[in-house]
């Protein structure tokens, strides 16, 4: 039992929880890669801070998934013993850090969605979900503010920072459509009023993006094709390499406790 990957009994709620947990873990992991390498010490602090919040969110979501699945798994089993095809995070969050502009635009696109999403989820009749959302919302409000401020600063900073910010927006735009998707299982949860409909957040998200990009003197990209696949495990090639680092210890020392 201690060897290899786990099999997850994916009811709609378990799958829902794992996907959100995966988002938070993978983005938190990406942010943690900056540690010691940020453009200024204050950003070493801020990036670590956001990374910690996200890893914390992942832990509570995984832990709740373990409770719902009731198959003897725990947060570490989900994080360390599922292969790339079992991960259900958004393609957006697994994109490499790139330069600081990419990291901040990625964070901004994600947080501008998640902040209202958590707020909506606070109304869930599922008390655990509502509590997780209430805590996460406080964090995401800060992530949104911090990343938006940087997007504005970079967009309206120097020519170089403008160019890099514009490039980051153009590059990451195609990964934003996936945030508004829901599969049949999630649709059922939405229909039952357990979780919010991400589609309902599209207009407010667009408005928030338009507002910040305008302040940043950056253009909002025109529609365009949207990439998807992350939710069903069809990831980019980047995730596998992230997981070989992330999972190395648990894979190399099966059964050990740390």
């Amino acid at each position: 039992m201690a060897e290899g990957s786990i099999k997850v009994a994916e009811t709609p709620l378990v799958r829902y929880l794992l996907r959100r947990a995966d988002d938070a873990l993978i983005l938190g992991h990406r942010l943690s890669e900056w540690c010691g390498h940020a453009p200024m010490m204050e950003e070493d602090m801020a990036l670590a801070n956001m990374g910690l919040d996200l890893i914390g969110q992942a832990r509570t979501l995984y832990t709740y998934a373990a409770e719902v699945e009731a198959a003897g798994h725990d947060e570490d089993a989900y994080a360390y013993r599922r292969d790339v095809r079992g991960y259900g995070n958004l393609l957006l969050v697994e994109q490499p850090n790139g330069d600081f502009a990419r990291t901040m635009v990625r964070q901004f696109f994600y947080s501008a969605f998640m902040d209202p999403y958590w707020r909506a989820l606070m109304a869930s009749p599922d008390a655990t979900l509502a509590a997780i959302a209430a805590k996460a919302e406080k964090e995401s409000a800060y992530h949104l503010r911090h990343s938006a401020e940087w997007v504005i600063r970079l967009g309206d900073g120097t020519d170089e920072s403008h160019r890099r910010a514009a490039e980051a927006v153009a590059h990451l735009w195609a990964f934003t459509g996936e945030m508004f998707e829901a599969d049949a299982g999630e649709r059922a949860l939405i229909a039952d009023g357990v979780v919010p409909d991400p589609e309902s957040l599209r207009a407010p998200w667009r408005a928030a993006i338009a507002d910040v990009l305008a302040q940043a003197t950056l253009a909002v990209p025109e529609g365009g094709w949207m990439q998807k696949g992350g939710r069903s495990g069809a990831h980019s090639e980047h995730l596998g390499h992230l997981l070989s680092d992330l999972q190395y210890m648990q894979r190399a020392f099966p059964g050990a406790r740390w």
Binding site: G36, A48, M249
Partner: protein
């Protein structure tokens, strides 16, 4: 001369010197060097532990390690702020470190090779740092003393966390216990060197002692560390990599073997296993981040100008 005498009287009376107080130029210089070296150490110290954040073996450990490294960055920031009260600027201090002119603690020039090194750093490196730093909480210079109080509180938390990692490994599978022993073997001697050269060979100490910056000698602190740490290692069931280590019933101290000061000198001279990687990593972060800092400054200036224009209108 009157000022100098008055200054020394205040020191002797255990009064705190504050930024706007008169102080001898040498005092200012010594403290600036010491505080900024300490700050550099916190910042460079993020790298060896940062090396394991992406591979931490559980989510709990991953979060704790990330938080710890973040704390270190915070310590760096307080310490640069304390150094700035002496008239230096953070930018100039950081440049001295990046150019290799200013030092940081040599211990960070050793690599973290296994997860047990994260435990060993917390237990031993932070343990040794605390021994050095607790007396600094009573340092004559107020801003430094206050920064150290905060730093020491967090460091002792980190130290307990590191020791707890070691306990878990020591109680774990055979491979984990081996990993713990191996880490102790590699970190023990470099940690003893953290207290600096033996008293007989030590510079700077006289003035620092008189100014109540330094309250214990290198050898005194080293002995305290050994005495505190050896029983912890025994509790873990680990062996210290020193065949000469023996408990001296008469003095109540653990006597340790000869330290390889040649290794210490080499690491200090830039020849440690990681000196170049550490400096290269910090330089790269600095250089790659230049455009971000410039953008932030340009933006701030634009906003300031806009505000002035609005006020003028």
């Amino acid at each position: 001369a009157g000022l100098a005498a008055r200054f020394q009287e205040r020191i002797d009376a255990e009064e705190r010197i504050e930024p706007n107080d008169w102080m001898p130029a040498a005092y200012r210089k010594t403290l600036t060097r010491q505080i900024s070296q300490h700050a550099h150490s916190e910042i460079v110290g993020m790298l060896p532990e940062g090396n394991w954040i992406t591979r931490a073996p559980s989510l709990r450990r991953k979060a704790a390690l990330l938080a710890k490294v973040q704390d270190e960055c915070g310590h760096g920031l307080y310490l640069y702020a304390a150094a700035e009260t002496l008239g230096a600027s953070r930018e100039e201090l950081v440049d001295q470190m990046l150019s290799g002119k200013a030092k940081y603690s040599s211990i960070f020039n050793y690599p973290t090779l296994t997860w047990a090194d994260i435990g060993a750093i917390g237990w031993l490196v932070d343990g040794a740092a605390i021994m050095n730093q607790i007396p600094l909480c009573r340092c004559s210079y107020g801003p430094y003393a206050r920064a150290m109080i905060r730093v020491c509180k967090e460091e002792s938390f980190h130290q307990r966390q590191g020791y707890e990692i070691m306990v878990t490994l020591a109680k774990g599978m055979a491979e984990q216990k081996e990993m713990a022993q191996d880490a102790l073997n590699r970190w023990w001697w470099p940690c003893l060197m953290m207290f600096g050269p033996p008293d007989a060979a030590s510079e700077h100490s006289d003035a620092s002692t008189r100014w109540k910056i330094k309250r214990f000698s290198n050898d005194e602190l080293r002995q305290k560390f050994v005495d505190a740490t050896v029983p912890q290692a025994h509790y873990l069931g680990l062996t210290l990599p020193d065949p000469d280590l023996v408990f001296d019933e008469a003095t109540g101290h653990w006597r340790y073997g000869a330290i390889d000061w040649e290794e210490f000198k080499q690491v200090l001279a830039g020849n440690g296993p990681c000196n170049r990687d550490r400096l290269a990593a910090r330089r790269k972060a600095h250089d790659d981040g230049a455009w971000v800092r410039e953008a932030a400054q340009a933006f701030a200036e634009k906003r300031r100008a806009a505000k002035h224009a609005a006020q003028a209108a």
